[in-house]
Amino acid sequence: MIDVLRRITHEPLGLIGLILVILIVISAILAGVVAPYDPVALNIVDRLQGPSINHLLGTDQLGRDLFSRVLYGGQVALKVALISIGAALSIGVLLGMVAGFGPRWLDNIIMLFFDTIRSFPTVMFALATVALVGPSLETVILVIIVTSIPNYGRVVRTQTLSIKSNEFIRAEHGMGASLFRILGIHVLPNVMGPLVILASMDIPTVIALEAGLSFLGMGVKPPTPSWGSILNDGYTLIRNTPWPIIAGSIPLVLITLGFTFLGESLRDLIDPKLRKSV
């Protein structure tokens, strides 16, 4: 682990990625301490201001400090990314291993489920769900979990299938090892590498999706700050002030860049085989 970290910091892009990610994660965690203002406090007198010493990124149409809103928005983005990718990863690993190791008919059912989900364009699926269930952060998380499960599940299934036929697994099986032991001790560690890379490459997509849905007013409810809803404010105010758009997009672009750089150098380190395929 420390070795991986050291090698990442030796690569310029990996280092930049790591710094960006750490910076934004820390600023989001410490939002309550760092933020100069309450992110939902109204201050109509100071509305629509440009950046100044008092308001680093200016204020929005209700006089809320954009810098504070951006910091708190980071909490929403990271929360969504962590919960949804964590859940999707666990369910995906489980289903993938069951599909790879279980009976044929179960495999077919699970693959059918994966293919069905993948046949929708993600955003369309998200919008349809939000339209039915109503906009909320939980809906967004649920949609992301459901649509990401196949990504992980498929990788795990393929890996499980290829490991299953190895001789050491057969030997283990012959010696009477339980299914849980085989899956937990032999299969799981072998699929973890590709999964970590996949997850770190998925984080920017998930964050962008959350921001996108919040931008459409289908994510977090106002007045909770999210990068997407700040951008939405910016869109409605586009003829008055550029600052909400700039404030909302900076962290979004930085964090997607950070995670992508980090994911790419992780991939190069852990799995040189994958380097060619993307």
Partner: protein
Amino acid sequence: MLAVTLLYCMIHMVPGDPARILLGPRATPELIASMSARMGLDLPLPVQILRFFGNLFRGDLGMDVITNRPVADIVFGQLPYTLWLIFTAIVFAALIGIPLGCYSALHRNSLADRISGVLSVACITAPAFVVALYSLLVFAVTLHWFPAVGAGEKGAFWDQVSHLVLPAFAIGLSWIGYLARLVRASMLEVMGENHIRTARAYGLAERTVVYRYALKLAILPTVTVIGVGMGFLLSAALFTEIVFARPGIGKLIFDSITTRNYPVVMGSVLVSTALFVISTTLSDLINAWLDPRIRASL
């Protein structure tokens, strides 16, 4: 097909009767009952699904409950706008991305290659709606170079073109990076293959080798990627259409969701999903047609 059934069940599993939502809180029970009957909601769910599929095969997507027009008319009226937008974006991305990737592969590890590599990643990660917002802010609102809203007057060609520039740019930008990386990678692979060495050994000019032999093969994966990427393209188109208030299937979905016009939501999501599936299949076919090696194995 399964996807459609799932979607249909999902719509009907949620609490809240569409007829009730449509008519508002003050509707009388009789009115709701007659509305439900008109929408076919009083039938049991399996019957509804069968009826829906029956109509589907006749090209009937149902009626829009608000304007009383056939949903198919509405959806297919909006579809060309989206298709043009996606097509322009892809052509734009290909025109820049493919030469860029080609150049990077031929000048591997040069400074230009490294810069274009980092820029490509940056382009890929930029979400389409953020790019759309910025291009709207910079080129339409501040500089007034291009119009901000709509798709232009019908029949006025240049007007429509100028309305297409910014949205296509917003969608195409991430694809420039994507295609550049892809072409670079596959170009490097192809250049190492035997037939390229043979072509060189025959004494063909480097230009001929690169453009007639190598590039022709290196472009193949882009076809697949564009086909599979249709889902991303449609999603990006949805955001861009909303930002630029352009007519199109994405805006249709969004608008019908905000007005809770379920038949239109169904119809438009259905058509875009179909588009996604068709384009994936089509890209496989085109690939087989382009690549003699796959053609032979069919």
